[in-house]
Amino acid sequence: MNAIYILWLRELKRYTRSRAQVIASLGQPMLYLLALGFGLGPVFKRAGAGNYLQFIAPGVIGMSVLFSSIFSGLGLLWDRQFGFLKETLVAPVSRLQIMIGRTLGGATVACIQGLLVMILCAIAGFRPAHLFTIPMALGFMVLIALLFAALGMAIGSGLQDMQGFQLIMNFLVMPIFFLSGAMFPLTGLGIILSYVTKADPLTYGIDGMRNAFGSPNIAFHPGLDAAVLVVLGAILLVFGAWRFSKIEI
């Protein structure tokens, strides 16, 4: 238990100490929010779909949680050879504890990041329909963070070089974001795209947050969103732990 706690705390300390990084990582979501939110806003409105800023804000929050959590796992690539990971892998602690500590740490940091973006969205003009459902939105944020932190662990455990990292970035992380309906509504899509978006776990996270915020552009029942995230998250945690136990250094 102590090992899980100290590894979780470590991730948190690292995050709070790298202020420059915190600010830098807020830059991208802000760019999406402001450039797209205000840039595409008029078109969106003319199409009769409402206010684009209100629509895209949950997408941008989801994006920052996705990136932050999945990177915490992909960082294993670097950490395994040049970082602290080796120190933990030869310690008399089970791999499972190490994996859980790291995953929880990565997910916690991702949630803090998401919360910061949520505040920035509010400053930019985003207004949830009901304030009392914000805890529900936070719940979806936690589910997204855990799911992708575990996925990051599963992939990061097997990454061998920088090229592999690029490959994952371009063919997994970016598509997960772009195909999640973070930036476009899921209604009236072509049949192929509609199936692809339904296969993307982030879709349910962002749809869940839209549900919580009372957005009119929702695709599924919040219960379904939560169920998909919980089941898939649990599977990925087990898979991630298994992959982590196979790491050789």
Partner: protein, 264 residues
């Protein structure tokens, strides 16, 4: 303290370690020497539970690392070839995490951290983030950390690589001191023959996965009829340069070097 018998490790068709046997007595400093790719790191990985041997047996303080993984892990400390400190944390925090991971009671952990940081001349910098440390300071901290849980054995895999002679000298004098005061057995690898000659009580030389010589530095020089250990080493292992293909780790090491230079 360490007993290795007919140890063998094969990767696909390549035999990295071939029928190696040696013993290291309690309190001894044993230098494990060999050219690149000779099987040094593979052997250390097998001794430290990170790799399973294909055949042969290993005993560390009377225990088999495969059967009693956690008990064995508590008994040794290791300093890897590549850094394994957390640069964002302070020296003190790095020590405290180690104490928790090795189940050292909090009070003893703090007391020992203080002793070791003082001994390794890092006490004044204990609250500084490790990324601000010089290469020599980082190495000292890693070794101090390796001693924290009072291991019976300390493994050092090329601990002085890239350090200047002053730092190397200082580092070895610290290691020797703990070896004497706490009777810790030390097994090290290095490419600096003068270091091995000065520090080690006994030496084993490995080449192409086979142990080609072992004994005190003097015995090895006598066996080969040479004046110094470097000549003895070359006589035993030949003059051919061992060019290896860069593995992913080596490629990343290169990348890390470039990255660090750019940041300066």
């Amino acid at each position: 303290m360490i007993r290795v018998q007919n140890l063998k490790k094969t990767f696909d068709s390549f035999t990295a370690v071939d029928d190696v046997s040696f013993e290291v007595a309690p309190g001894e400093i044993f230098a494990f020497l060999g050219p690149n790719g000779a099987g040094k790191t593979t052997t250390i990985k097998m001794l430290t539970t990170l790799l399973k041997p294909t055949s042969g047996s290993i005993e560390l303080d009377g225990l088999d690392p495969q059967k009693h993984e956690n008990e064995v892990r508590r008994r040794f400390g290791i300093v890897f070839q590549d850094p394994s400190l957390d640069g964002d944390l302070t020296a003190w925090e790095n020590m405290q995490i180690h104490a928790v991971l090795y189940h050292v009671p909090s009070k003893i952990g703090k007391q020992r951290s203080e002793e070791l940081l003082k001994l390794f001349e890092l006490w004044d910098r204990r609250d500084v983030q490790v990324k601000k440390f010089s290469g020599g300071m980082k190495r000292r901290l890693e070794i101090a950390r390796g001693f924290l849980h009072t291991p019976r054995i300390l493994f050092l895999d090329e601990p002085t690589l890239g350090l200047d002679p002053q730092s190397r000298n200082q580092l070895w004098s610290h290691v020797k001191r703990v070896n004497e005061t706490e009777n810790v057995t030390v097994m090290l690898t290095t490419h600096y023959m003068d270091e091995a000659d000065r520090v080690a009580h006994r030496i084993g030389i490995i080449d192409h996965g086979k142990l080609v010589a072992q004994g005190t530095p003097r015995e090895i020089k006598e066996q080969t009829g040479t004046e110094n250990l470097e000549d003895a080493f070359l006589k035993l292992t030949g003059n051919t340069i061992r060019d290896e293909d860069a593995d992913p780790a080596a490629q990343m090491r290169q990348f890390a070097k470039m990255w660090q230079q750019n940041r300066r």
